[in-house]
Amino acid sequence: MPRISPHAVVTCPENLADDVVVGAFSYIGPKVYIGPGTRVDNNVVLIGRVSIGKENHIYPFAVIGSEDESQTGQIVIGDRNMIREHTVVLPGQANGSAETYIGNDNLLMTGCLISSDAKISDNIVLGNYSHVGDRAFIQSHVWASAFTGISPDVTVGRYSFTSGYAGVDRNAPPYAMLLGFPFQVRGVNTENLKRCGFKEKTIADLKEAFRAIFDGADRSVADEALVEWGRRSDLDEHLRYLVDFLAGRTGGGCGCGCDDRPGKKGC
């Protein structure tokens, strides 16, 4: 039996796995499914079509879902996520992909807002009061600092880092440090790459590629350099991904939900 506080309101307790814990004054709606080991603290609202995996921790005052009848989509949350206080996750909308998706092992810090149809992959940290716009797609291992604003329909490439107050108003390249509003690429996110076990050679190659490619005005992409790097046949997996991303040959960023998640198709 799930451990439900006597002060919580759980409409259908049979939708909760056996060892789910629900704190006081939380409300869990009838179409909410929660996997084993998930802990829902006090004053949490889970409402609408929400599916939550195992071993997540949802902290007080988080709101996942919406009572709004027009927002008919669902929310899918994977495993081992931490969704901190006052975070809001909105459900998908019928005119979008109708699904807001949060992958595995993410940390959404206090006060984040995940808008409708946004997709968040795995191992992501979103700083306090970050805002992910409608249909935005955040690839895996991204670190966003506090107050980061991610506009609707953009893709943030994998292993990127955004500084505090950064504004991601267009597709952000992978492996990059992104600073300012609107953001500028300020080099390779070496610290995160080291933590994620990248080889020294890969990091050095990425640095060389960044120096060559982000050479335009305001460190924008220099097209000639990109074409030149694209022709090279000696690129490893990560450099190839960087070049393909910048040339628009990978999924994401078009608002249709095409992405690199398993089982999902590009557009």
Binding site: A24, N42, N43, F61, R84, H86, T110, Y129, A146, G164
Partner: protein, 293 residues
């Protein structure tokens, strides 16, 4: 008997003074101690090893003593200490300390925290500090006595805000801010925030006289008006003759900032108990923490 509204979930092990007022829908965990005259508005959550002093007012939706948002935290029984007569706004979140950061998050007395502030793990906020709405303090930060941080400002890990300094609204703080200065950006889209003169309201709040103010003004212009190396400027200032205690304090602060990395003095206290612990924490708690390490 504390005035407790009916719909609350309060652990029987929590120690709540009989003269407290606990509003509706509050949740209070087992390791919590609340002192005399403290008022919790409705929907306040207090968790962890949280010790709250007397006559505090805590507004709706605040979560005190939550787990740190630090991936290095391993679930230890770390502490949150809150002094007396503080005013904590709506939806404020204050986390407990971490094992590798000194075990304690500390708030002194007479502090005002605006709505939706976030005070992360291992921060020390001294008496009389004022934080505006949505101020974010990342971990391991020290806010010294009487400092003012205005709305939507984010402060980097390990930074220090000097006493009676003022940080303007929406200002990213990436390094130590010396005492008695104004730090802000005229246009935060294209202008780097910098030290812009003396914080006169801070001078008044600290009760300094005209002579002290004039000397501080001279010291600030000597230290921050030209681009030469801070170490050289400090030496030049010292050579001018005996300094007033406040200028001496300012020089010491700047010298310490040079010791840390990226202009942040506290960077050198990573993974150890910070020096502020001896200054602010009660001796028995300090002994307990040292025992746990």
């Amino acid at each position: 008997m504390a005035d407790v509204k009916v719909l609350c979930e309060i652990s029987p092990e929590a120690q709540i003074h009989p003269q407290c007022r606990i509003g509706r829908w509050c949740v209070i965990g087992p390791g919590v101690r609340i002192g005399e005259g403290t008022k919790l508005s409705s929907r306040v959550t207090v968790m962890g090893q949280t010790i709250i002093g007397t006559d505090n007012v805590i507004d709706t939706g605040s979560v005190l003593g939550g787990e740190p948002q630090d991936l290095k935290y391993r679930g230890g029984n770390t502490y949150l200490l809150i002094g007396d007569r503080n005013r904590i706004g709506h939806n404020v979140t204050i986390n407990v300390g971490t094992e590798c950061g000194g075990w304690v998050t500390y708030l002194g007395s007479d502090i005002v925290l605006g709505d939706a502030c976030h005070v992360a793990h291992d921060c020390y906020i001294a008496d009389g500090a004022r934080l505006g709405p949505k101020v974010l303090l990342a971990g391991h930060i020290v806010v010294q006595r009487g400092a003012v941080i205005e709305s939507m400002t984010g402060v980097h890990h390990f930074a220090r805000i000097g006493r009676y300094a003022r940080v303007g609204p929406r200002t990213p703080v990436r390094r130590d801010i010396p005492p008695f200065v104004n730090y802000y950006s005229n246009n935060y889209y294209c202008d780097t925030p910098m030290i812009r003169g003396l914080h006169e309201a801070g001078i008044a709040a600290a009760g300094l006289g005209d002579q002290d103010e004039a000397e501080l003004r001279k010291a600030l212009s000597a230290l921050f008006e030209n681009e030469s190396a801070m170490k050289t400027k400090l030496e030049q200032l010292q050579r001018r003759g005996p300094l007033s205690p406040d200028v001496e304090d300012l020089c010491r602060f700047c010298r310490e900032s040079l010791l840390g990395r990226f202009g942040r003095y506290r960077e050198q206290f990573r993974d150890q108990i910070p020096p502020e612990a001896e200054q602010y924490l009660p001796a028995d708690l300090l002994r307990t923490i040292r025992g746990q390490i």
